[in-house]
Amino acid sequence: MGDEGKTLKKLVVCPRAKLTVIPAVPGQLSKIHPLSLLDHMMGVHNLRIVFYYKTPRNKEEGLRHESLKEALSETLSSYPIVTGRLKGGNEEGRWEVQCNDAGVRVVEAKVEGTVEDWLERAEAADEEGLTYWEKMPEDPCFWSTFYVQLTQFEGGGFAIGLSCTHLSADPTSATLLIKAWSEIHRRKAISTPPFFHAYALSPNPQILTVHTPATHLLHSKLTAQNTPQNFGENYPSATFHFPPSSVRTLISKIEEETKLQVTPFEALAALFWVASTRSHHTDSYTESICLCTEFRRLLQVPLPQGYFGNALHFSEVSEKRANLARYNSGLALAARLIHEDQDKAKEEEIWSVINWLAARKSDSGRSSSPFPIYGPGLTVANFEGVMSYNAVFTEGDRPLHVSYRVEPVVGEGMVLVLPSDEGDFGRIVVVTLQGDRLSRLRKDKEVSGLGPKVMFKGSLTRGHDG
């Protein structure tokens, strides 16, 4: 049984592998789109997303490189920012995107076996082979900000990998791009058209730079980058697949204790918070996590769902380790704290962060370069709203599985809560933790008691590109 896993390690990339797909309709080449302050904030990170599609019943029905590339080209006509190139040094010292139709890099690849086999046995490091990424060079004027990899499983099935810089898109935007592509592939109109508005998240002069918990958190992240971190390569990862029934059980358990109606994210965040607390020993009195929430609809004047760019808010919750480490009561306490954080209005904090970033930008020198945001503390991200399973390329064929990863991983690690193929209350949780915490977390009673299926185990090849 163990030997079969080894045969999956061969990932063969086609000889004529790399090309560029351009938008089918010429765009307005003089258009320049400045990136927002929140986009800049995320500049250190990049995303990798993989969509898996099942083996078709007969060979003729499967996804094909040609039709996918054609549909992508048509889709890109609506996304001038995705096909543009970064241009530096505008008067505010920020990156801008020159919408010059230069296109998106696409890599064509093949791998042995079927996609179903792969999902059973592949490890975290294997999954990295399904996406393609190039680090941003000094001068990015010829550097593509988006990369797509089309991998044909020779036994049957397909994987579409998207990687992009976090400067240009957050997981919601990136997913909507793939969803739009799938709709064009099915010859339908784009249901959530992209909304490009460079100044939607401009600093609000009406709100003075008030120091809020959110700005305090950012400041601590900024200073943390100067203290030595564990930049070791050892970041084991695992993907937990929770069926709807398990999540319901968890929610009702929490409800019993707290009398609160919690969302699946809150429940799972609490679960992994307490489990991760128990998984390591430290002298620190408190344990805190950083919660990442997507805020398009949370603003008083909400942004459209199709807003293309970064709209992520980071907040912190902490509690005494001793309280969290207890079984049952720790979980309930964690859930309450997270629920309270998620429930409160974020408007003022969001704008305070933008103003803080604007104030910081006006200082010259190295202080204005981006710093890791997902870290150094454990980051638990709420990505359950990304509509990844709506990316249907062939009528009736929803993705078998969709994986998300954020790079680089720094500090304690991260937990990403994502929707699952089962829909409803089912969730997929991608956990990446420093050192040997993950192996202990997997054995944690509260986690294993819910019976999740664990996929993509093992170490990532790249922890921090230091």
Binding site: P15, R16, A17, K18, L19, T20, V21, I22, P23, A24, V25, P26, L29, E66, K69, E70, S73, E74, S77, R85, Q98, N100, D101, A102, G103, C141, F142
Partner: protein, 500 residues
């Protein structure tokens, strides 16, 4: 300039114009001017004679029955001889041009990026190709086949065949649909593609795809550069003179896939920047019943070959560079040689098409210079009087500029060529047909309009076709220009500053 100064200039130029027009009218309709007084005189004479005298003339012994019979027989005989010896009219029933999909586009930024990322080109070559592209006159919609969208493309023969099938079959399907004729009706098939010549040939490929008749006469021209479209039409014409009631299909294309140059020799880098995918298919016939729906009638074919001159022969030369990369080397003399080839061509073309007034002026100027040794500039006949439309091979900006200057054409006359270069790039032999289609799409082609297509090609050849429009042509809803004609003409700036 003050108003009083402007007025005399204006008045004198108007006066000159009247003089010029009067002279042209007089010389061009000289025969009419001669005949009219003669006919008037005869009519007056007849009227003066009166009916009785006319009858007496008829009854006179000079005009017996035999004479009348012989005379009428003679007239009938001469008429028959005339009709038999008259060549069949050659009609261009219709033609189609391949329109590549937007997904094959080569935006300028993409092209430059690929040059930079390609391991084949050194920084000097990249810079050189940047500069060519800036001045090229190509727009954002020109297309290359999918195999060349890869970074460091390494196209296979299968890719080249795939491109050939795509462009040729698309255009041919459209042609059959438009004209309503069946593949089995085609008597002659001529395919020209200079740079891709597989075995079996492209014409065999077409015959195989469309299951054409076993007694079809097929021809495949390769290696003839950018000018073989007139050559193919010439072959079709000659065949249609010999065979009555026949259909000939001409396919003009250039397959771009196998011709991407991956070396660093400067003289060979131009084609990468200019050549783009395209194809045209024509249906020619000598059937009388096509005279109603045919778009054009072929008036003249003039072919000029300068191959006897070594310089001309070597000016467009395919060879290997020092690293054994195959490319087409263009010599610096190219424009000069093109100018000479054009001069040869128009020397033959002139007497065929120019009105008598221009020919007289040219002759007078020639006499004055050669016989009387007067120091006059050689008179360049005004070809604008012979043609309403000009289709100059969109070989590159330089070619169009050169011809605009040499033939003293206005920007409107070369608009079709410039816009074709902008929208489709240099599609080699089929470019003449995209240009014709531009003129039609703009609604400028009226019945009776004469068009001159000039093609240049390696060798060095200059070939011309003269067409007369058979019926007023409306813009097509499915032509290659249909979706963008309203955006044209665009002003192609001298050099577009590109991000480096």
């Amino acid at each position: 300039m003050r108003a009083s100064q402007i007025m005399p200039n204006f008045q004198s130029s108007v006066w000159l114009k009247y003089v010029k027009h009067s002279f042209q009218y007089l010389v061009n309709h000289f025969l009419t001017f001669l005949l009219v007084p003669i006919m008037a005189a005869s009519a007056v004479e007849l009227l003066r004679m009166g009916p009785k005298e006319i009858l007496r003339l008829c009854d006179s012994p000079h005009l017996g029955l035999v004479h009348i019979l012989c005379s009428s027989l003679f007239i009938v005989f001469m008429a028959t001889l005339y009709f038999i010896s008259k060549p069949y009219p050659i009609y261009l029933v219709d033609y189609t041009c391949y329109k590549p999909p937007g997904t094959y586009r080569v935006p300028r930024s993409f092209f430059l990026e690929h040059l930079k990322l390609s391991p084949s080109f050194d920084p000097e070559s990249v810079k050189f190709q940047f500069r060519i592209l800036e001045r090229s006159g190509l727009g954002e919609r020109t297309c290359v086949p999918p195999a060349l969208h890869y970074i460091a493309p390494d196209p296979t023969m299968a890719d080249a065949r795939a491109e050939a099938e795509l462009v040729i079959f698309s255009a041919m399907d459209a042609l059959f649909e438009r004209t309503g004729i069946k593949p089995q009706d085609v008597d002659f098939l001529i395919v020209n593609c200079s740079m891709f010549s597989p075995t079996p040939s492209l014409s065999d490929m077409v015959i195989n795809k469309y299951k054409m008749r076993s007694n079809i006469k097929s021809f495949n021209l390769s290696g003839m550069g950018c000018s073989p479209s007139p050559i193919s039409v010439n072959i079709a014409r000659d065949l249609l003179q010999v065979h009555a009631n026949a259909y000939a299909v001409v396919v003009s294309t250039e397959i771009v896939t196998p011709n991407w140059y991956t070396g660093n020799q400067r003289s060979m880098l131009l084609p990468n920047c200019l050549f783009r995918m395209g194809a045209a298919t024509l249906l020619l016939s000598n059937r009388r019943r096509e005279s109603r729906r045919a778009k054009y009638r072929l008036m003249h074919v003039v072919r000029t070959h300068r191959g006897a001159d070594d310089r001309a022969y070597h000016c467009v030369f395919q060879e290997e560079d020092v690293q054994r990369n195959v490319g087409i080397s263009l010599s610096k003399d190219l424009m000069g040689i093109a100018g000479e080839a054009l001069k040869s061509n128009i020397t033959t073309m002139g007497p065929l098409v120019l009105p008598a007034s221009e020919q007289l002026l040219f002759l007078l100027s020639l006499f004055a210079r050669k016989i009387f040794n007067l120091k006059l500039k050689p008179y360049i006949p005004d070809f604008k009087q012979a043609f309403e439309h000009f289709c100059i091979h969109a070989g590159g900006r330089a070619v169009i500029d050169e011809l605009e200057k040499n033939l003293q054409l206005s920007p409107e006359h070369v608009e079709a060529s410039r816009m074709t270069l902008h929208r489709f790039g240099n599609t080699s032999s089929s470019s003449l047909w995209y240009e014709m289609n531009y003129i039609e799409a703009k609604g400028r082609m009226k019945k009776g309009d004469r068009s001159w297509q000039i093609g240049f090609g390696s060798g060095f050849k200059c070939n011309s076709l003269v067409w007369k429009c058979n019926r007023s042509i409306k813009a097509e809803a499915d032509g290659p220009w249909a979706d963008c004609i309203d955006q044209y003409p665009v002003h192609t700036v001298e050099a577009v500053k590109l991000q480096q």
